[in-house]
């Protein structure tokens, strides 16, 4: 029963090791920037865009995490995000952006409730219910648009009128020039010194023109981790995903907790949709979610069903997307980054005499180097498939180490074990 024991504390990978790894990667990135001259690799502009692109994926990933931790697959995140975009835009248009975000969460929770009733009460296959959720949202919101937005100036069957006002954005004082203090980080970023310039650029990107909604979304990562791993409620919720029979035998109301888990999951997805409609742009537009619900699921797998892992995965996708949008030409610099990083792994493997890992890393180095030297522009279709390719690679190489909740996706009937 090691599974039950591991439930009681969240495994940590050692903060010091993580810090060293982080600075190591940043150092490589800095070297790449100095070699290639692609200043945008770590510029505040790129990082700011990356953050705004990360948030919806992050929230979708957390939505998947909450659902699977309670034991239910949620393929319907995309649909719940669509509900979030619609209700968010409607609220922002009628009442202002904060009410909009609230309505987005409620809209997503509505989707979560439908998915919960279908899968928990009626035991409909969880994948099918999720797919239905996606279709239902797409066409349902279209129908509601016809009722609410058609004929309104700037509105129509596939889009809402723009919202009133926006969520406030802040420049952090003393770091990025908020409250008319000096823009210290901006000064360092302009110098472009090794490591310091990159660190300044990244920090400035995260603290300049920062939407309070982005801040809220990022804070939900530690909040999720705390609730799931440090509270009784979280323990019960996870036990429903690992071994519902055991949970029930210990007096946990599994059905109730599964409903709650899916409502929270839907709320996260809805907030992600609301962010797209209210912060990333200022209105609802059909197709706006553009598959982010599925990318969110990919980051959940990528992140090994942990909030910090989801944040990491979402940041990778958000960063590559942001770099592509803001400085398309710089993307090839990432090949050099991979080549150098994998090259260091080769050296480490030789020292540690781990031949298999060394060979894999060597091949990676070669391919990445070749790509860096030959490719001028990464084709659009390739960058779009990046999240899925990365997920496949992770599944193929790290599947031994991934640990999904044991009973995610398996229907549960109370008393079923008797």
């Amino acid at each position: 029963m090691s599974g039950v024991i591991s439930l009681t504390r969240m495994p940590t990978s050692g903060p010091r090791r993580l810090l060293v790894l982080g600075f190591g990667l940043l150092g490589i990135m800095s070297v790449v920037r100095l070699i290639t001259g692609y200043d945008d690799l770590t510029s505040s502009g790129t990082i700011g865009a990356a953050l705004r692109l990360t948030v919806p994926i992050l929230l979708a990933g957390l939505a998947g995490l909450w659902a699977e931790r309670v034991g239910i697959l949620n393929i319907g995140i995309e649909g719940m995000m669509i509900l979030g975009t619609w209700f968010g835009a409607f609220g922002a248009w009628k009442f202002g952006p904060w009410i909009g975000l609230l309505l987005a969460v409620l809209g997503g929770m509505l989707g979560g409730a439908i998915h919960a009733v279908a899968t928990i009460r009626f035991n409909i296959d969880q994948v099918i219910s999720g797919v239905v959720m996606n279709l239902l949202s797409l066409y349902g919101m279209r129908y509601l648009s016809e009722l609410a937005f058609d004929g309104v100036p700037q509105g129509g069957i596939s889009q809402s009128p723009p919202q009133r006002g926006a969520i406030p954005r802040i420049d952090v004082p003393f770091l990025s020039g908020g409250w008319s203090t000096p823009d210290i980080l901006g000064w360092f970023e302009e110098r472009g010194w090794f490591l310091i310039g990159d660190l300044a650029g990244i920090t400035r990107g995260l603290t300049t023109n920062l939407s309070l909604a982005s801040l809220l979304a990022v804070l939900l990562v530690p909040a999720s981790a705390w609730v799931l791993w440090r509270t009784t409620f979280g323990l019960r919720l996870r036990s429903s995903g690992e071994s519902p029979e055991s949970a029930e035998s210990l007096g946990v109301d599994v059905i109730r907790i599964r409903y709650l888990g899916l409502l929270i999951s839907g709320g996260f997805a809805g907030l992600g949709g609301g962010f797209l409609a209210i912060v990333s742009s200022s209105y609802y537009r059909q197709g706006q979610t553009a598959g982010r619900g599925f990318i969110g699921l990919a980051t959940m797998i990528f992140g090994n069903w942990r909030p910090s892992g989801v944040l990491g995965g979402a940041a990778v996708f958000g960063y590559s997307e942001g770099l592509k949008l803001v400085a398309g030409g710089s993307v090839t610099g990432l090949f050099l980054f991979i080549a150098i990083a994998a090259g260091l792994v080769v050296i480490a493997s030789v020292v540690a005499r781990r031949s298999r890992r060394g060979v894999t890393a060597l091949i990676t180095t070669g391919v990445a180097m070749l790509a860096y030297l030959t490719v001028d522009e990464v084709p659009e279709s390739l960058t779009q498939s990046l999240p899925y390719v990365v997920t496949l690679v992770v599944l193929a190489t790290a599947s031994q180490r991934l640990r999904p909740p044991a009973r995610a996706g398996v229907p549960y009937r109370p008393g079923g074990s008797h």
Partner: protein, 336 residues
């Protein structure tokens, strides 16, 4: 289990009944019927589809057409929508958008008594009326306007899908800008690969791109990406004074909020409304014939908008360019 089967059966019956009702409801009275199959985005996109919608509205009011509209929700709806409009015995069916490619030809051949108008596509057939818009010519003029207005000598272009059609916009825009200022820096970025329909509905990404260019000193951006274009005007407003956005297909000034209008330099007009209206008129008068109809600067099928008066000071230069293009003195490239 039995319970859920009964539920499903009930749902299926309801769905069938709805479908039957939808099919039965189209027997409208008059002889002149016009079916419009919009592409994804549809009415309210503020640009391309709305232009076609205006043409249909005009045909309804001036030519006594009864108009039936269907809009593709996803890429899979285009063929079925055309089939449905053909089945409803419309006199003329207009397919709005290049993406009707594979669906339109066979359906048109199977319905020889119906005229099929196709915006932005070409298929040979006696009952297929196709349009060739010279988007590159219109884009040349707004490119020239951008270069004339730019203080920094740094402008940008955002495209939707990276396809030949949108590259025409880009090529014309760059050529127009370089005709004014050979040293001008023109940024260029696409939102998606061919077939990626999200490219027409990603205002958030268009906004990030435009914002990064404005912040890097660019002062005019032109977007040809359907509904994504609204992200650009939001970025222009956010970036502040002296930052301009150029709209596409429709006169987007008409759809802007007052604070956005202050940043809307002009729009490249693609008179899809005129094309739809002309098709309807010819079908009514019995003069319609299949083939290929050009819409260019010479017949005002493309042009630029003057709403808001932001280009009033350079209109003479723009008209001069227009004359040279019409006369053939300037040949605008169609690929960048």
């Amino acid at each position: 289990m039995i319970k859920s089967k009964r539920l499903i059966a009930g749902a299926l019956t309801a769905a069938l009944a709805l479908t039957a009702a939808a099919c039965g409801g189209d027997d409208a009275g008059g002889d002149l019927t016009l079916g419009v199959a919009f592409d994804t985005g549809g009415r309210g996109d503020g640009t391309f589809n709305d232009a076609a919608g205006r043409g249909a509205d005009q045909a309804e009011s001036d030519l006594d057409y009864t108009v039936q509209e269907l809009e593709a929700t996803t890429a899979d709806d285009r063929g079925p929508n055309l089939e449905a409009l053909a089945g409803a015995e419309n006199k003329l069916i207009v397919a709005v958008g290049f993406a009707f490619g594979d669906a339109l030809g066979p359906i048109a051949e199977a319905n020889p008594d119906t005229y099929f108008g196709w915006i932005d596509g070409y298929y040979d057939g006696p009952n297929i009326i196709t349009t060739a818009f010279a988007e590159h010519e219109g884009s040349f003029l707004v490119g020239a306007a951008a270069a004339l207005k730019s203080q920094s000598g740094h402008i940008g272009f955002i495209g939707g899908q990276e396809i030949d059609l949108i590259k025409k916009f880009e090529a014309g825009y760059i050529a127009g800008a370089k005709a004014v200022n050979p040293d001008i820096v023109v940024e260029s970025q696409y939102l998606g690969a061919a077939g990626d329909n999200a490219a027409w509905g990603s205002p958030d990404k268009a906004k990030e791109i435009a914002l990064s260019w404005y912040n890097a000193g660019a002062d005019v951006v032109y977007t040809a990406a359907g509904g994504s274009g609204r992200g650009m005007i939001e970025a222009a407003v956010e970036a502040g004074d002296g930052k301009w956005a150029i709209g596409v297909d429709s006169d987007e000034y008409q759809f802007d909020t007052p604070e956005q209008q202050a940043h809307r330099l002009t729009s490249m007009l693609k008179r899809v409304d005129v094309a739809v209206y002309e098709m309807a008129k010819n079908v009514k008068e019995g003069t319609a014939a299949g083939g290929f109809y050009p819409f260019n600067l010479a017949n005002d099928g493309v042009g630029y908008a003057t709403s808001g008066g932001h280009v009033d000071d350079i209109v003479d230069q723009l008209e001069d360019f227009k004359k040279q293009i019409v006369a053939g003195d300037i040949v605008v490239p169609t690929a960048p």
